[in-house]
């Protein structure tokens, strides 16, 4: 098996690989959740979301797309929404390769800015995003519990 990492657009046959990575990270087996999400991104724009594979196996994924109008932000924005890397594949720049592929695609689709959100407690993800030159946005995420 080749160790080479190949990044390519997401397909419907990647659901199992993504579910497996999610299970390894979160400990939860959630095939239905990933079927819904993958179905959504494929319907919206199948060229946007990306997976990384090595030796015929999915080792990372990043789901996102270009939209405008979110939160009153009319400019076309590349939204980076879900991603994960197989713990065994960490240290191989898989996340960076995926992120660069999405950002390149976002640029091709006319977006000049990419946005995402990260949980304040998630230092690993925040560190990764900082390494990818994401900086705090002049927006505040607010929430209110309603039940």
């Amino acid at each position: 098996m080749s160790d080479e990492v190949r990044v390519r657009p997401l397909t419907e046959l990647d659901i199992d690989g993504i579910t497996r990575i999610d299970e390894r990270i979160t400990g939860r087996y959630r095939p239905d959740v990933w079927e819904q999400r993958v179905g959504y991104y494929i319907r919206r724009d199948p060229d946007s979301s990306q997976v990384a594979e090595s030796g015929g196996r999915v080792i990372g994924f990043m789901l996102g797309e270009v939209r405008g109008g979110e939160f009153g932000l009319e400019e076309p924005t590349g939204w980076l929404e879900f991603f994960g890397v197989d713990p065994d594949a960490r240290g191989r720049a898989v996340g960076r390769s995926l992120c660069e592929a999405l950002l390149t695609y976002f640029r091709e689709k006319g977006a000049h800015i990419a946005r995402t959100m990260v949980a304040a407690s998630d230092a690993d993800i925040a560190g990764f995003l900082a390494a990818m030159d994401f900086v705090p946005a002049p927006l505040t995420a607010l929430e209110k519990r309603i039940s």
């Binding site: 397909t11 046959l13 659901i15 087996y29 319907r43 724009d45 939209r67 979110e70 689709k109 977006a111």
Partner: protein, 455 residues
């Protein structure tokens, strides 16, 4: 999260001239009445997504130079007259066949759309049908927006009339002449036959005729969802089939695969051919090369479905343990922990199984590649692997009769390959009235075709 409304598209949008646009809508009223429900379903099932547009879309930024074949490096043709004459004829045949598949699949899906058990699965297939209608519209745009006289004497209106007059049983490719037996066919068709469509569209991205090449990226974006509309319900069914009380079982899915996979293989054309299309710059792969990739992808799909089934069946096992059980059973072609390769898991038939066209046409090759000396044993072998309802169809009877005739020497192979269950290629005029054509004459001032601003 507030709904996103802006979707960036770089496609050029075209409407057909009114006569052709009206003909497609007229065809839709007869063959796809559920289309009227699309807007309502769209709001419910695809609320964040741009509304459906029945229009032709041409991608921008398509390479200007021919990418493969004898004319590689020369500018792509923007008119049929600029193509090599043989390429123009070949391309016209491809466009007509493609159009036939688009309208044909709607006729097939429509037969059993109402029988879906799950409203989401049904809405997904409804969307697939609408997008197939758009793909058919796209092919009619290609046929009617240029002068094809270098390739045919037939007028554009007559070409469109011929396409819209086809019915299940008289389409160009066999896969579009099979009737659906249940909603299982809607789903398995999307997983297997739309997958061939993906390969054909991908191969045609290099097409030497620029409007054809520019038609492919928008169609491929939609085709990606069509595959998901097949695989995702099949994944859920494979999981549910682990329950002994399941309504849709693994053997039922296996039989549907046996019905569709051989027809999918034949959609690539004869395994020994296709080089001419590459030479002429119409596609970038010959038939066998593309078919090999398709088979590998189908294998991957079945591994995915089987793993989901095994995981649901052995809930006490971890993912790694369940995957190991599946891998062992697959390698041994045997049984493990009550899981049987033969009985419980999905498998691809051998490429020679139940074939009517191509390299293996009418060769008595069984499901696992075994050869049969006795024709009746072979017919029985195939029969036992097909869905019960399908066995009663004209299509299976036609095949069995031909298989016997070819094996017995009463019919030449070349004649059997050409034979179709229903020979009438043109099914007739619009059923509203026998004297009415689908394509109606419309005064010049009422025509509305042409390019629209980019969306």
């Amino acid at each position: 999260m507030p709904t996103a409304t802006l979707v960036l598209m770089s496609d050029e949008i075209h409407d057909l001239p009114a006569a052709y646009h009206g003909a497609v809508l007229h065809w839709q009223r007869h063959n796809f009445p559920e289309y009227a429900r699309l807007t309502e379903d769209w709001e419910r099932f695809f609320p964040k997504e741009p509304q459906f547009c029945l229009c032709a879309r041409l991608a921008q930024n398509v390479p200007g130079g021919i990418e493969v074949g004898d004319r590689a490096g020369q500018p792509k043709a923007t008119e049929p007259k600029d193509l090599d004459p043989e390429a123009a004829k070949g391309l016209l045949g491809i466009i007509r066949a493609q159009a036939s598949t688009e309208f044909g699949s709607i006729q097939q899906h429509q037969q059993t759309l109402a029988r879906a058990q799950d409203p989401t699965d049904q809405a997904w297939v409804l969307r697939v049908m609408a997008e197939e209608l758009r793909h058919g519209y796209q092919m009619i745009h290609l046929l009617t927006s240029a002068d094809w006289s270098p390739a045919t004497d037939q007028k554009p209106a007559d070409m469109v009339e011929e396409i819209l007059s086809m019915k299940t049983g008289s389409h160009v490719l066999a896969a579009f002449n099979l009737e659906y037996d249940s909603f299982v066919d809607n789903v398995v068709f999307a997983a297997f036959i739309d997958r061939v469509g993906k390969y054909q569209l991908t191969m045609q991205k290099v097409n030497a005729y620029k409007p054809m090449a520019a038609s492919m990226p928008p169609m491929l974006r939609e085709e990606a969802f069509h595959l998901a509309a097949g695989v995702i319900p099949m994944r859920r069914w494979a999981e549910a089939a682990a329950d002994p009380d399941a309504l849709i079982t693994m053997p039922a899915l296996q039989k549907a695969i046996c019905k569709w996979f051989p027809r999918g293989l034949e959609m690539f054309g004869d395994e020994r051919g296709g080089e001419t299309n590459v030479k002429l710059g119409l596609k970038d792969k010959a038939n066998r090369e593309a078919q090999d990739l398709y088979v590998a992808e189908c294998e991957q799909m079945l591994d995915d479905l089987n793993r989901r089934h095994v995981r649901a069946r052995f809930t006490r096992l971890s993912r790694e343990e369940a995957d190991a059980v599946y891998a062992r059973v697959k390698v041994d072609r045997g049984d493990a922990d009550g899981l049987s390769w033969d009985r419980d898991l999905l498998k691809l038939p051998d490429r020679g199984f139940f074939r009517r066209r191509g390299e293996f046409a009418f060769q008595p090759i069984g499901f696992s590649g075994e050869r049969f000396d006795d024709t009746e044993h072979y017919v029985g072998h195939v029969r036992d692997r097909l869905p019960e309802a399908y066995l009663a169809s004209l299509d299976v009877k036609h095949w069995a009769d031909l298989q016997r005739a070819v094996s017995g020497g009463a019919t030449a192979l070349k004649d059997a390959i050409k034979s179709m269950p229903r020979l009438a290629r043109v099914g007739g005029a619009c059923p509203c009235a026998n004297s009415v054509r689908w394509v109606m004459e419309i005064p010049e001032q009422e025509t509305a075709g042409g390019a629209k601003p980019k969306q």
